[in-house]
């Protein structure tokens, strides 16, 4: 097993873990967003979707455990990388200027990542780990989004997710070695589009609910 530790423990290996787990979250975001779209059909459709999810219990538990595992790997590795990268330049530059490689997304990855972590915890406590007796899932969501502060918080957070993904998407491809002049531009465009879809797709839901209620 030495070889596995050596490979994954190296700088490139750690990046591989970030990339693979990142891909998982991209898939999760896609699934989550598609499911959430039922909310536009109406409360019943949304509740039915939630109910359907609950009926798949063993599979759902498996997916949830998987997500938690990947999240731990992603967060833990990310923190190690953040720390190591910080240590790699003990004396900072007095004058900092960029050459045009960095983007808003790439420059803020660790910070947006931590914000997303906080948001996810908050989100779980808000919607998942709540007393569901006598309330439908839609009721819980609607209750939250009747509070403008919550609406703002959710919109801001999913935009931050969008920023994180704007770098993470193409970066995950680059890290696993997929970069070619023929298709890299497409991957980059797809990444930007995807981050916009995530930000707008999720961001519009709180707005929509607070408007109709």
């Amino acid at each position: 097993m030495n070889w596995l530790i050596n490979t994954l423990g190296s700088s490139v290996g750690k990046k591989l873990m970030m990339s693979i787990t990142g891909f998982v979250f991209i898939l999760f975001l896609i699934g989550h967003l598609i499911g959430n779209l039922t909310i536009y059909v109406g409360p019943d459709a949304f509740n039915a979707y939630a109910g359907h999810l609950q009926s798949l219990k063993p599979a759902l538990r498996l997916m949830e455990s998987g997500l938690i595992f990947f999240a731990i790997v992603h967060i833990f590795t990310g923190l190690i990388l953040f720390y190591q990268n910080f240590k790699a330049r003990p004396n900072r530059y007095e004058v900092n200027k960029q050459a045009g490689g960095r983007t808003l997304g790439s420059a803020t990855m660790p910070y947006t990542g931590l914000i997303i972590l906080a948001f996810v915890i908050f989100h779980l406590f808000d919607f998942t780990f709540v007393d569901k007796t006598g309330r439908t899932v839609y009721d819980i969501v609607a209750a939250s989004f009747s509070n403008p502060v919550y609406v703002f918080l959710y919109i801001a957070s999913v935009f931050i997710v969008g920023i994180h993904v704007s770098h993470g998407f193409w970066s995950a491809f680059q890290t696993i070695g997929i970069n070619h002049p023929k298709y890299m531009p497409t991957i980059q465009t797809a990444g930007l589009l995807f981050s916009l879809i995530v930000a707008i797709g999720f961001g519009f839901i709180p707005l929509f609910i607070s408007l109709i209620s």
């Binding site: 330049r89 960095r102 680059q174």
Partner: protein, 254 residues
Amino acid sequence: MTQNINLTLKVWRQNGQQDKGRFETYEVSDISTDMSFLEMLDVLNETLTLEGKEPIAFDSDCREGICGQCGSVVNGRPHGQEKKTTLCQLHMRHFKNGDTIAIEPFRARAFKVLKDLMVDRGALDKVIQSGGFISVNAGGAPDANAIPVSGEIAERAMDAAQCIGCGACVAACPNASAMLFVSANVSHLALLPQGKLEAAKRALAMVRTMDACGFGNCSNERECEAECPKGISIINIARLNREFFKAGFFSHNE
């Protein structure tokens, strides 16, 4: 076209590794815009010498952009603001009269400051020593045309092989990572049929040494590519990643 300009220079002065270092400000006047940046520093050093002060230590050798020995961070940019240019090839016509220019050494944990703008980039040599070569002794090579290499592959290998080892990629990287440097070397040799035999061993050894030297991790910020005086692409980093995973998961090397 040629003009003379006056400048204010804020130069990092540091007397050895133990010293904390500080900026010192110098005024230089009558700088011809045809001068290179290092010639401008030469002029300042001549003045300092005659004033009884110690001249600024900085590295340079070929002064034609190929040896890779020069390099400082000028106004926050390694080798200055011009694209695909080493510091020795940066000319003063890119500055305006009255400009203030801040000059700092390349900064990274793996590059110790020796004095003023001079740094120790020996870590880059160490990485090559760990595997950045093809193991062939003098004397046993087959006829050169016995190993055909398609023109296209030779061109791509050459794109990577152009690296001058100046360390600007490390200096530019927000994480002080040396991935562009390492990937250029790995790519050059992995692309050629001669280099494929040792590709797995090479990728593993070079990444391991790179990590041990204290460079940061790549986070695909692309600053290295933007600052590289030879325009080396991060496509090479993707190739290094592929080579590394191939080696780590599918070869018999550990």
